[in-house]
């Protein structure tokens, strides 16, 4: 694994250098593929809102079964994407209460109201948007909102915890009902878990161990010369690669200086990226399974999220220990 680090001023040169390295390796018959972008905020979101809107339209058309299905899809989207704000999921629950109420299923309607109140105990039903029957149902359920406890263990321990879209201190105190707990940290893939806390039950135990997001971890490799964060090492390890770091800097005289381990390559300021790549690659055998990642430093200690991640061969072959279930279906 080769990580190229450069200052923001050298972003264009670093990217061009990466391009040249890719071209050269391709010309040597090595199959190079780009690794996926970090699973960060760039990931498209909005499935909850879209599904809720569809449910709203279906409910308005009295297509109750369709509305129920779309609300289930909204909850599944919340499981997959996390919840952006309490209002987002409260809207799902209130609409769910109206749909179930219209279907004559008071038990599930009241359950949805309880879940909404668990997320927002001070919930005020907008009379412009919701019918009086729903407001009455909410007020009836508000009388007793017991508290429930959850014993939450996160790894890494300094990860941020959001409940129903709001950052919370540990340990979070929650109302009894349904909640979405999102755990996130730079360099790791965020994890969202739905937890249902029952009245009268003991503390629910929830343990969330985040998996390293290799591309995000490597993108946080820092500026040239900075110590290598152990997280970067873990990112490389998650890709099954040994980490090597190439620092690209500008010389006071205008030339480019590339440092790769004990090897140092200097090029005149007029040198093209192709010449620099040739100078770097000629004496350095990166090996057949080397991957190249370019992170362009922004300010101190961070790399841009759009870092170019390039792997050679099957760069994303997983090496995280674990297990895979292999099932056989025995039919009648």
């Amino acid at each position: 694994m080769l990580v190229v680090r450069a200052s923001e001023a050298l972003a264009r040169e670093a990217s061009a250098l990466a391009d040249r390295i890719v071209e050269r390796r391709t010309a040597e018959g090595v199959d190079i593929v780009r690794a996926p972008a970090p699973a960060s905020a760039e990931t498209p979101r909005g499935g909850v809102a879209e599904a809720t809107l569809r449910a709203d339209e279906a409910f308005a058309a009295l297509a109750l079964t369709d509305a129920e299905r779309d609300l289930d899809a909204a909850l599944e989207a919340a499981d997959a994407e996390g919840v952006r704000s309490p209002a987002e999921i409260v809207a799902v629950m209130l609409l769910r209460a109206m749909v179930h109420g219209a279907m004559g299923d008071d038990a599930r309607a009241n359950e949805a109201v309880r879940h909404a109140l668990a997320i927002d105990p001070a919930l005020a039903v907008d009379p412009e948007r919701y019918p009086p029957t729903l407001a009455a149902r909410v007020e009836a359920a508000r009388a007793a909102i017991p508290g429930c406890a959850v014993t939450l263990t996160v790894d890494p321990s300094d990860a941020a915890v959001a409940v129903d879209g709001v950052q919370r201190a540990m340990p979070p105190e929650l109302g009894c009902g349904m909640h979405w707990v999102t755990v996130s940290r730079t360099g790791f893939a965020s994890s969202t878990r739905r937890v249902v806390l029952g009245v009268g039950e003991g503390p629910a135990a929830l343990a969330v161990a985040l998996a390293v997001d290799p591309a995000a971890a490597l993108a946080a490799s820092g500026p040239p010369g900075a110590p290598i964060d152990p997280l970067v090492e873990r990112g490389a390890a998650a890709l099954g690669r040994r980490l090597r770091v190439l620092d690209l800097t500008r010389e006071p005289g205008g030339g480019l200086h590339a440092v790769l381990g004990a090897r140092s390559v200097r090029a005149a300021g007029s040198a093209t990226p192709d010449e620099l790549a040739a100078a770097l690659l000629a004496p350095i055998d990166t090996g057949p399974d080397t991957a190249v990642v370019v992170g362009v430093g922004v300010g101190v200690g961070a790399a841009v999220a759009a870092a170019i991640a390039i792997g050679i061969g099957v760069a994303l072959a997983p090496s995280t220990p674990g297990w895979i279930g292999v099932g056989e279906v025995i039919r009648p």
Binding site: D79, V314, W323, I324, G325, V326, G327, R331
Partner: protein
């Protein structure tokens, strides 16, 4: 592909093999075809951990798939594999493995899945009607089944993946014919050929005993599991044929059985039934046991008796007007017991449902047990001596029993009580292959319900409470 690349791929594949344990499992279709003759649109597999579905782990396969490869998961404990067949997004059939752990050494046991149509019974074993199972004790891979004659082990997935029954281990001679109940993964056998009780482990070995002097019952005791380590033994028949008013609390501390005599019943009785429940007292749920029916020495109006397993409250006898006898009974929620069917005052089988509200600290002068009015709608089939199995809060499965002509009833029904608005509704759900008296039933750890009816065993796949 270049030779170097081929080498790299081979090395990577090898790495994957060495870093990821493969956990094989079988998905066994039981009962009615869970693939609906090929009309199912997908098989969905989801990983569950500690009772919560893991987001993002659902994988859908073609309905005719024979091999299911799941996404990689980290080593850990408390996993379960959930398999569902879908028809355009609707779940038609479901199965779940028993909980399992996975470490680098492998899985604690194979996470095989029994897949069944929701709301249906799957017959899994024929049995001996002359020696029906009296208690079902859930285990890590099935259940222990206690009959009057001995202990039998039910394995949900035998060598071929199908349910299997292992050979019966007879009780020790003094316990032949005794009544059985679950006690902390073991079976407590009360009475039999001699008074006393024995605690028997999964292999049929006696690990603790209560002397006959402490528990002088041989037959007809009503037994209820108060919690995992406590049971209450109520009434019964002594060796000399007399009826006992005794109420005995039996506790298991992991090494010894401790029998404590509580305040006796007002009327001695035998062949009663005992329903454990939680009742709300001083705003805190507390265990109680409701005793129904039974034969008494003196003729008197049928009553209900509320017992406090802690012994703090004395037994309370309550006569509830219009109550049927031989009704199926189970606790639905805190302070709420459902009675289903039974025999009414005219001697006819009835389909009435009764909700009993149990409030031990009712106002002075008020009974701690009262029937709720209005009552829920009646069962579709009038029946007496049926079985009632709690499926979840407010949900009960009413199964088997005998109709007005004393003929076995095969149809099952679900009573669904809306706990915040009462009373509820009733729907038909499935049919037992072997109708008769339900002698034992219990939820297993794979979320199926094992029902014993006149010795035959069926698994019920609940459509509710998921």
């Amino acid at each position: 592909m270049s030779e170097r690349l081929q080498l790299a791929c081979a090395l990577l594949a090898l790495g994957a093999c060495t870093s990821r344990a493969s956990v094989p499992f079988r998905v066994v279709a039981l009962g009615d075809d869970p693939f609906f003759a090929g009309t199912a649109t997908a098989i969905a597999v989801t990983m569950e951990r500690d009772g919560v579905r893991e987001p993002g782990t659902t994988v859908r396969f073609a309905p005719d798939a024979t091999a299911l490869t799941l996404p990689p998961m980290p080593f850990g404990n408390g996993y379960a594999v959930i398999v569902e067949t879908e028809l355009s997004g609707l779940v038609l059939a479901r199965g779940r493995s028993f909980p399992f752990d996975v470490s680098p050494a492998g899985a604690s046991h194979s996470p095989d899945v029994s897949l069944g149509v929701l709301g249906r019974f799957a017959p899994v074993a024929t049995g001996d009607a002359s020696d029906p199972y009296l208690a079902v004790v859930p285990s890590a891979d099935g259940a222990l089944l206690a009959s009057a004659a001995g202990l039998t082990r039910f394995v949900a997935h035998g060598p071929g993946g199908l349910p299997a029954i292992e050979a019966r281990t007879p009780w020790p001679a003094p316990r032949i014919g005794g009544a059985a109940v679950a006690l902390d993964r073991h079976v407590l056998v009360v009475g039999g050929a001699a008074p006393g009780a024995s605690l028997v482990d999964a292999r049929g070995a006696v690990i603790a005993e209560i002397a006959g002097a402490e528990l002088p019952i041989v037959d007809g005791a009503a037994i209820a599991s108060v919690d995992a380590a406590t049971v209450l033994v109520v009434g019964g028949t002594r060796s000399d044929g007399s009826l006992a008013p005794d109420v005995t609390r039996v506790e298991w501390d992991g090494a010894h059985l401790i029998a404590t005599a509580l305040a006796p019943l007002q009327h001695a009785r035998t062949a009663a039934r005992a329903v454990p429940l939680l009742a709300r007292r001083r705003a805190t749920p507390e265990p109680r046991v409701l005793v129904l029916d039974g034969r008494r020495a003196a003729s008197a109006a049928p009553d209900l008796v509320l017992l406090d397993p802690s012994g703090q409250d004395a037994p309370r006898s309550v006569v509830v007007p219009g109550l049927a006898v031989r009704a199926a009974a189970c606790a639905l929620d805190t302070g709420l017991v459902l009675l289903a069917g039974g025999v009414d005052a005219t001697g006819a089988a009835t389909g009435q449902l009764t909700l009993l509200v149990v409030q031990p600290d009712a106002a002075p002068g008020s009974d701690p047990i009262a029937a709720l009015s209005p009552a829920p709608p009646p069962l579709f089939r009038a029946r007496e001596s049926a079985g009632a199995i709690a499926l979840g809060p407010g949900l009960a499965l009413i199964v088997a029993g005998r109709d007005a002509a004393a003929a076995p009833v095969a149809e099952a029904e679900i009573a669904e009580i809306q706990l915040d608005s009462l009373p509820g509704s009733v729907v038909l759900t499935g049919t037992l292959a072997s109708a008769g008296n339900v002698t034992a039933a219990a939820p297993l750890s794979d979320h199926t319900f094992l029902v014993s009816s006149d010795g035959a065993l069926s698994l019920y796949f609940s459509p509710r409470g998921e």
